[in-house]
């Protein structure tokens, strides 16, 4: 089955892509670029890195600009999926939704309307097992945004590994954040994945941080041999 993967550039969508590749054929990545930074569905820091990730994976990318207004962005998603059906023959959509009923419901409805399959391979997955599998599978993931206490500026650009996972587990226990960042407490950027032919190297970035909220804005990055 040919599938299109909704990709934000973060760990969840790219791990979902990895799972999909193990079982079906991933024909393309699909990304919506919202003009509205408060987009309900699609905003994450460093969306502009997705084309580089697609390049690294050797996958075509279907991207689409959206205003990022609640109803309009769903219409735009529907439109880009129709284009992906025509151009890449996709029969279904894969998302990295973990627990977001809001996101899953809307995408399921769009897929039903378009007669497409919809898969959410991380749906209600065990967070500890998922994070461990992510790291053990060869993903290199950095924190690209923080949006909750107690994250300080040093988290921006920090790589997820055994040590950071231990700290995140402590934060989950003491501050009630979700281990996976499902609650929007932090966002991530994937620099390498088992299905990447080349890895991403950040050459220039800026940190913007204040009061437990901040983003790592990648200004320049390139692909290098693994």
């Amino acid at each position: 089955m040919k599938l299109g993967v909704l990709c934000s550039g973060g760990k969840d969508s790219l791990f979902a892509c990895f799972r999909a590749m193990q079982k079906e054929e991933v024909a393309c990545l699909i990304t919506l670029f919202p003009e509205n930074l408060e987009s309900y569905m699609f905003h994450t820091p460093n969306l502009h890195m997705v084309p580089l990730q697609a390049d690294a994976a050797g996958l075509p990318l279907k991207s689409f600009q959206t205003e990022g207004i609640e109803d309009a962005e769903l219409r735009d998603l529907s439109e880009v999926l129709k284009i992906a059906v025509t151009e890449y023959g996709i029969e279904g959509v894969v998302t990295g939704a973990l627990m977001s009923v809001y996101q899953a419901t809307r995408i399921q409805r769009i897929c039903k309307d378009l007669d497409l399959w919809c898969f959410n391979p991380l749906w209600y997955t065990d967070p500890v097992r998922y994070m461990n599998t992510l790291m053990a599978s060869g993903f290199r993931v950095v924190v690209s945004g923080v949006f909750a206490e107690p994250f300080d500026e040093s988290w921006l650009g920090r790589e997820l590994d055994g040590t950071t996972l231990e700290i995140l587990s402590g934060y989950a226990r003491d501050y009630g954040i979700t281990l996976t960042g499902e609650g929007g407490e932090y966002e991530t950027l994937v620099l390498d994945a088992p299905f990447f032919n080349r890895k991403i190297v950040i050459q220039e970035s800026e940190r913007h941080y204040r009061n437990f909220r901040g983003v790592l804005s990648v200004k320049r990055a390139s692909l290098e041999e693994k």
């Binding site: 399921q108 039903k112 209600y124």
Partner: protein, 186 residues
Amino acid sequence: MILLVDPGFREGSLGYDEFVCSIAGIVERAGLPWACQHYTALNEDELRDAAGIIICGTALKDNAFLENLERFSWLRNARVPVLGVCAGMQVLCLAFGGSVRPGCEIGMTSIRITVPHQILPDPPSFMAYELHTHSCVPPHGWEILAESEICIQAIRDPERPFFGVLFHPEVRNDRVVKSFLEICEG
């Protein structure tokens, strides 16, 4: 051991991650061992060893199981509690003389309890996640435990501990699965 039956279109499909693993997580958190088998590959040993059986859900477009109902003939001889979730409830209905018909719900939905039962949340109503294109007409004599505005949501066989829920309990209603597991433990 709790046996999870995957009614997906193919063994180990992407739907397994979504609809079987999410239920398996609840069983694990309840401290019970589990095993999973695709519905086309079930054998008598697995059925005999199970303390309870959960027939899981499928992706919205995945209705291939409806064409292979003979693969569920073991249900007629099952002597342990059985819970059918979404696709699983459809299987239960069809295996015992009920039917299914078009009826789509997607997303959080209000469910009204018609007959209070330990397997469901407290009356009078609760919110549940729906993901189905078929609704069920239960087998003759089965009790209707809950309904949404458009269709029957929970049923039980009054003669055997067989239950069906059309909503997905793995989303915000894992208490339903835990209650079923308590029934399995006797």
